[in-house]
């Protein structure tokens, strides 16, 4: 326990010092959203969101409940397609390619843009099977040895391997909440995505498990473009380099995380950060 607590402290010190704001602005752009709208039946959930997501950095979406941040996140890998009556307008481009192009296969898109959900949702299969599933369906492993290697390295990258190496054949659902969430991250990493979307990945976890995941996100940022939706402003401040504030389906303000938290332009952002709304 003490060791974990120590880790947490270290993490909080190390985060954000890693990249200064000017670096951030020079990052190449990975994802570009333009005038994205979402309707659920008659109700409009998003009113023209335009934002650019930088490569190999963490971008966080913050805002009060029902502000549309999760809805927008789910547009990025077209998970909204699975919701009955949801209609998405505008364009989202990944490396200049429109992801809503009818010619684009959503299966391929979701292999390139992985997702981690709010509640840890490992498959009711073994730990090994959980991680191996993605590479298997996408045909990424040429042999069993290949697959073993992918599973082990994904679990390592998710910081879970040491904890589970002796019980890879036990069900993933038997792990603790934090471990399950890291398993879900390992599962997402295993297909080698370019972007990882995280929808409030720590909201169901205790503070220690949260700290471990936050540290993991900070490590993953070296190789992946990460977009995280969070309720916790502290978390956004700790893990992200860019922050976007959503309110009532609108993108109110976006920018370098430090700027948003220390020097918000909009009155609404100010109110939210001060705890007056939300």
């Amino acid at each position: 326990m003490d060791m974990v607590a120590g880790k947490v402290k270290m993490t909080q010190q190390s985060v954000n010092s890693a990249m200064n704001p000017t670096d951030m602005l020079e990052r190449p752009i990975r994802l570009t959203a333009k005038d994205v709208t979402v309707h659920y039946g008659q109700k409009q959930a998003l009113h023209g969101i335009s934002i650019q997501i930088p490569d190999r950095a963490v971008t966080s979406f913050i805002g009060p409940s029902g502000c549309g941040k999760s809805t927008f996140l789910r547009c990025i890998n077209r998970m909204n397609d699975t919701i009955e009556g949801a209609k998405v307008g505008g364009t989202i481009k990944l490396d200049g390619e429109d992801i809503y192009d009818p010619a684009l296969d959503v299966v391929e898109l979701r292999a390139r843009i992985g997702m981690v959900f709010q509640k840890p949702n490992p498959f009711p299969k073994s730990i090994y099977e959980n991680v191996a599933y993605g590479p298997k369906i996408h045909g990424l492993a040429r042999s069993k040895t290949d697959l073993d290697e992918i599973v082990v390295s994904s679990l390592r990258k998710a910081g879970l391997f040491e904890e589970v190496k002796d019980r890879l054949n036990e069900p993933g659902t038997g792990l603790s909440g934090g471990q399950q969430q890291r398993l879900c991250i390992a599962r997402a990493i295993a297909v080698g995505p370019e972007v990882i979307l995280m929808d409030e990945p720590c909201s169901a976890l205790d503070p220690i498990a949260t700290a471990i995941i936050e540290e993991l996100i900070d490590e993953l940022r070296e190789n992946y473009t990460i977009v995280i939706v969070t309720h916790s402003m502290q978390q956004a401040a700790r893990v992200s380099q860019k922050t976007a504030f959503f309110h009532l389906g609108n993108l109110i303000e976006e920018g370098v995380t430090e700027d948003i938290f220390t020097n918000p332009v909009s009155k609404q952002t100010q109110d939210y950060i001060m705890g007056r709304i939300g």
Partner: protein, 454 residues
């Protein structure tokens, strides 16, 4: 109003009083409701207990049956057919076959009852007076076939005396077990006075004894020899139908449910189909029987009274149950699992077959077994497709004539020899119940096992 909410001591006393007055009524209504629930359970269990005790009380005695232990002499003066022809004595196969057939015909035409009569008289006290007709009412009428079959199998028995157990007739069994009132007058008795006395003598000297009624499990139905009537034919008929139902209803039902729940666009048409499937589950089973007679027998010319038609009809009956249960199970799968699969880039089909179906498998399996068990107990539709015909053979294919367990119960229940067939009907019900309980047990076992594993 402000008075009642004021916080003075007297006001709170007043409030407590009010609450207390209401409390009694509240507790009372709870007690009444509990009492009613308990009474309902006791009543329901009472009826089940009544059913089981009645069936068991009547059925258990039917599992024992009276046997006659006879010393049968294959008397050469009665069996004067000469030795069975041997292949070596003939030059051609055709000649041998002809001689062989003639010998078998001669054997069949002998009066084998004479042999039975002789052995019965040998067992009776010396000089006991009873006419042949009365004497032969004691063994079951199939005794002569058994002895003849022994001889055909082994012609060397000629001239030898062998101990043979034959079944006592249904009437003799009734007399021995006391299923018939012994004080009734001769005119009301099925057996003559001499025969009754002889049975009692046989019982005293050990020629008659009761043993387990294997014939219930090893024999087919019989009218000429009711004591030898068994369930084997009906049981095998039921197995064939069960096989057909499982092979057809499960894949079709599960596939239909998966398509409707996971793939079909939500439209008026799918709503209409859904309503119809739900209604189909409530269609009286006899209507399915009519449909089977019209569609499978009249139109498709499948054989009457065959398990294939019965199986198809029961498949139609079971389909809605399986579809509804499977859809319910699919609906219950957590959206988190679906999102997890889709988020990994699984296609919809992969999501369904890799994740959703495996999770719902225990529920689908249980529903299927219960649906099949329910179908097995169905009688009405089978009556309409001719499965209530008297069939005295074991169906070797689903296209052979056959009957089914519940129909056999129905047939036995209507048999004229009430004293003998009432217990035997109860015994058949016990066998059917045992099959049902076994299937339900398997369902419960598989469910708990699979759910533990998941």
């Amino acid at each position: 109003m402000t008075d009642t909410l004021s916080n003075t001591h007297s006001a709170s006393l007043e409030r407590t009083k009010l609450i207390r007055a209401g409390l009694r009524r509240r507790h009372m209504s709870e007690a009444i409701f509990r009492g009613l629930g308990l009474a309902a359970i006791i009543l329901a269990l009472g009826f089940v207990a009544l059913l089981f005790t009645d069936v068991f009380r009547k059925g258990i005695p039917a599992f024992t049956q009276s046997n006659l232990h006879l010393a049968v002499t294959f008397d050469p003066t009665v069996i004067d057919v000469g030795p069975a022809p041997a292949r070596a004595d003939f030059t051609s196969e055709a000649e041998y076959n002809a001689a062989s057939l003639k010998w078998q015909r001669d054997v069949a035409l002998l009066n084998w009852n004479t042999i039975i009569e002789q052995s019965m008289r040998a067992a009776a006290p010396a000089g006991y007076e009873i006419d042949t007709r009365a004497l032969l009412t004691i063994p079951e009428t199939d005794a002569r076939h058994r002895v003849r079959a022994m001889f055909v199998e082994n012609p060397a028995l000629l001239g030898q005396t062998v101990d043979v157990d034959v079944l006592a007739s249904a009437n003799a069994t009734n007399w021995i077990k006391g299923n018939i009132n012994r004080d009734l007058s001769d005119a009301q008795q099925q057996l003559s006075p001499q025969a009754r006395t002889l049975i009692d003598t046989f019982e005293a000297n050990g020629t008659v004894s009761n043993g387990f009624a294997w014939s219930i499990f090893t024999n087919v139905d019989s009218r000429a020899a009711p004591a030898s009537a068994g369930l084997l034919g009906a049981f095998v008929g039921t197995l064939w139908m069960m096989l057909i139902v499982v092979i057809l209803a499960v894949p079709i039902g599960v596939a239909a449910a998966v398509y409707l729940e996971e793939f079909a666009p939500k439209s008026r048409l799918t709503d209409f189909i859904e309503v119809n499937i739900n209604n189909l589950a409530a269609v009286p089973s006899i209507v399915f029987g009519l449909l089977g007679a019209a569609a499978f027998i009249n139109y498709m010319h499948l054989p009457i009274s065959a398990p294939i038609v019965g199986g198809l009809v029961l498949t139609l009956m079971t389909l809605p149950t399986i579809i509804i249960a499977t859809r319910g199970a699919l609906l219950g799968v957590s959206p988190a699992l679906r999102q997890a699969a889709l988020g990994m880039g699984a296609s919809k089909t992969q999501m369904v077959f890799h994740h959703v179906l495996p999770v719902t498998f225990p529920s689908i399996l249980t529903a299927t077994i219960l649906g099949v068990a329910h179908a097995l107990g169905e009688t009405a539709p089978l009556l309409l497709i001719g499965m209530k015909a008297f069939v005295a053979s074991v169906p070797t294919t689903p296209f052979d004539q056959a009957t089914a367990l519940p129909v056999q119960i129905y047939l036995w229940q209507g048999n004229e020899n009430r004293n003998f067939f009432e217990p035997r009907t109860a015994a058949a019900i016990m066998v059917l119940l045992a099959v049902m309980i076994l299937l339900n047990g398997v369902a419960i076992y598989l469910r708990s096992r699979l759910e533990k594993r998941a």
